[in-house]
């Protein structure tokens, strides 16, 4: 499949196929998914843009090394089943990753076409292949090795736990996933909203895992309902900890306990996991702010802001102390948020919440910032501008300034070594922790990161666990 120079030039002139999306005026008030997905025709047209590079930069840019030109070629040829099987070899959750990976800093960021124009829409193509299989595929299960009789416990059902479970069940082990919440999926169900990742997709992934023979047990708070020691006593031979970084950070400024101030974790859990946007049809309420302020500018902040808009807010403001370049959210989310009418107050630092006599939030005081010298992270440090205080009215504030390590499990397991931020120490190559027979990966090791990194860590750990179960520690 050698390309001549001339044909390469021609391909690059096909424009990137736009992703059809719900109109912003309509979607800002509903919870349906925003991008509608490629048709087979647009997918094939987009796939035809790929130059099939001999040394594909995109693969280097993919944290799990998906063979991108190969699956894109299969899409171009119309072999959608072949394409998804190819992706599955490296990535167990492509319908999820196609939707939520920060492609612009991974595969698409380094795609050769990005040098001169628009990169190949790798994420959209990945999503297309996965959706096509979900809607039209045979549902055929991957081959499973002979049962080994070895019992594995996977704690946490986020993307890293699901990856470990999927890999090990295919290798013939007896896998049980233990999840604290009443529904499996981790951040994919409680954090990322329906309009960005339909819950039906996550449910189908879980179902796929169960059909392969893994057990998923909800309502199991490991460290409380059962300890790691007890899991070994019950006959589990290896344990994977993929419990995420579930500890909300607050700003620790005056007034933070007023009614109307929620962590993004709480706000999104109410909205997504508990479906509170349907209240009172469901029983869990959620505050519906008229004037909403979201503190932070990552994916979590964008999700919170866009949820607030959908719950009927008159205004929603993102307040962030750094500038636009430093905003950690995916480019597409920022773009969608802007289209939906979310306002951005950049270089703005909240200093105080203001409330009324009933303890309800009525506003915030903020300071304007400017960028100073670079800090440890290499980003220019925001410094306050003298006497730039100003007030902002709001009746709901959502704090999305990051999360830390939830200590519930680690405190009940004193033998686990932690780093100075209280994340679990694990070998980056194998996921092995300081406890024999215990692996860890995902956000509980790296701190809040991405779905794909959590899955990548899961895959490495699954390989190491399989070796251990076969040959020993």
């Amino acid at each position: 499949m050698k390309e001549t120079k001339a044909s390469k030039g021609k391909k690059a002139t096909i424009p990137r196929q736009p992703m059809p999306a719900q109109d912003s005026d309509v979607r800002r008030r509903n919870f349906d998914e925003v991008p509608l997905g490629y048709t087979p025709e647009t997918a094939r047209a987009e796939a035809a843009r790929c130059l099939q590079c001999r040394k594909p930069a995109c693969v280097e840019g993919c944290p799990v090394g998906v063979d991108i030109p190969a699956f894109i070629h299969l899409i171009k040829e119309g072999d959608f089943t072949g394409a998804i099987r190819n992706i599955w070899g490296k990535n167990a959750l492509p319908a999820v990753c196609g939707r939520v990976c920060p492609q612009e800093i991974q595969c698409e960021g380094v795609c050769i076409l990005a040098k001169k124009g628009d990169p190949v829409a790798i994420g959209h193509l990945e999503r297309f292949a996965a959706d096509y299989e979900r809607l039209n595929g045979s549902g055929e299960l991957p081959p499973r090795a002979e049962p080994t009789g070895k019992k594995v416990a996977v704690v946490g059902s986020g993307p890293s736990g699901l990856t470990v479970a999927g890999d090990l069940v295919q290798k013939g082990h007896d896998v049980t996933v233990l999840e604290a919440f009443h529904k499996p999926g981790g951040v994919l169900v409680y954090g990322i909203p329906e309009f960005r990742l339909p819950k039906e997709i996550v449910a189908q992934e879980i179902n796929f895992l169960e059909r392969q023979g893994a057990r998923v047990e909800c309502n199991q708070v490991v460290g409380r309902t059962v300890s790691i020691e007890e899991l070994f006593a019950e006959g589990y031979q290896a344990v994977y900890l993929g419990v995420g970084a579930g500890l909300p950070r607050f700003l620790n400024i005056p007034g933070e306990n007023l009614i109307g101030i929620l962590s993004a974790n709480e706000y999104l859990t109410r909205a997504n996991l508990m479906k509170a946007y349907l209240f009172p049809k469901v029983d869990t309420p959620i505050p519906r702010g008229k004037h909403v302020v979201v503190l932070g500018a990552g994916n979590v902040a964008m999700d919170s802001a866009r949820t607030a808009m959908r719950l009927g807010a008159e205004s929603v403001k993102i307040v962030y102390r750094r500038s636009r370049e430093e905003m950690p959210a995916r480019a597409e989310e920022i773009h969608h948020a802007e289209e939906e009418g979310i306002e951005f107050f950049l270089l703005t630092n909240p200093t105080k919440y203001i409330g009324d006599e009933k303890g309800r939030l009525t506003g915030m005081e903020c300071l304007r910032m400017e960028l100073g010298e670079p800090d440890d992270s290499g980003r220019r440090r925001p410094v306050p501008v003298d006497s730039s205080e100003f007030a902002m009215d709001c009746d709901l504030a959502i704090v999305a300034v990051g999360s830390g390590a939830n200590p519930l499990l680690t405190q009940s397991t004193p033998d686990l070594e932690l780093n100075k931020w209280e994340y679990i120490e694990a070998d980056p190559e194998t996921g092995k922790t300081s406890m024999r027979g215990v692996w860890a990966g995902g956000d509980i090791v790296t701190g809040a990161a991405t779905v794909i990194l959590a899955m990548g860590a899961g895959r490495k750990a699954a390989d190491s666990m399989h070796k251990y179960l076969t040959w020993g520690w």
Binding site: A180, F181, H182, C218, N219, V221, R224, T225, V226, G246, L247, P248, F250, N252, E256, N257, I259, G260, L262, S263, N265, E266, T269, R270, M274, K275, L278, F279, P280, K281, V282, D283, T284, P285, P287, R288, K358, G359, N406, P407, L408
Partner: protein, 276 residues
């Protein structure tokens, strides 16, 4: 699914006992810990402290007052029906220690929560005086249980329909005059705990209270249950639910408990659609 094996209406329709099959939780639970219950798919997650556990039978017992939309739904569940989800045991167990004379003060359904703690304090060798109260006689629960779990039981009602006419705090003051009280445990409505703590603070008697803020996950992941303890934020579901009664900001807790009052009322009036 978690089946209800026993159900009792402890007062005329407003306080209800459920004994529920939950063997894994029953095996692990200790006094002071709570569970989160969810009745069905669309249900809310409601935390309730366990009043009793029976590891041999594999059951736990919770007692709740019907106060809102979700507890009204719980009330409809009969023996043989199930909760879809029960999660636990959550929170830190009570620190039970032999200190001498201990006074346990309980109000309303707080008495149910106080019961296993009282029994544990007695079992470890303390002299346990118990003061329980309710608005009126028909709202008083677990009198016999509490008598058995303590050495000396005093009962009060706000309206004087039974026992001492007045508040548990009045009786507490009297007891503290005559006895060498080393520790107080107070569980009940927030104002009751607040007043108990004021009385015991004066005499510097260590006091434990059990807090019941609004919760979602119960595992320290949402921060909705945060309470101010000595000016610092704590998550009641993992750092508590029991705290040093002299350090709690009760007024803030009372306000935060009102966060969803309007939503609850809209539902209880059957006027549910106004916010949809």
């Amino acid at each position: 699914m978690f089946k209800i094996v026993k159900r009792e209406e402890m007062t005329a329709g407003s306080v209800i006992l459920n004994e529920i099959e939950a063997p894994a939780i029953a095996r692990k639970a200790q006094p002071g810990q709570f569970v989160i219950l969810k009745a069905n798919e669309d249900g809310e997650r409601i935390p309730l402290t366990m009043a009793e556990t029976n590891p041999d039978q594999g059951t736990i017992t919770v007692i709740y007052m019907v106060v809102g939309k979700s507890t009204a739904l719980f009330k409809t569940l009969q023996v043989g029906d199930s909760y879809q989800d029960v999660i636990g045991p959550l929170g830190k167990p009570t620190h039970v220690e032999k200190v001498g004379t201990v006074v346990c003060v309980g109000g309303g359904t707080g008495v149910a929560v106080l019961h296993p703690i009282t029994r544990a304090l007695k079992d470890i060798g303390n002299n346990v005086i118990c003061i329980i109260g309710a608005r009126s006689q028909d709202l008083l629960i677990m009198e016999d249980h509490m008598r058995a779990a303590s050495h000396d039981l005093r009962v009060c009602t706000d309206d004087g329909s039974y026992g001492h006419h007045g508040f548990v705090t009045d009786v507490l003051k009297q007891v503290m005059e005559t006895e060498d009280v080393k520790q107080v445990v107070a569980i009940g409505p927030v104002p009751m705990m607040k007043f108990v703590a004021e009385i015991t603070k004066e005499k510097e008697v260590p006091t434990i209270v059990s807090l019941n803020p609004i919760m979602v996950d119960g595992t320290g992941m949402c921060g909705g249950c945060r309470v101010s303890i000595a000016g610092e934020n704590k998550f009641a579901c993992v750092d508590g639910p029991e705290f040093d009664g002299h350090q709690v900001d009760y007024d803030e807790l009372m306000q935060r408990l009102q966060a969803y009052c309007e939503d609850e009322q809209a539902c209880m009036d059957g006027d549910c659609l106004i916010r949809s």
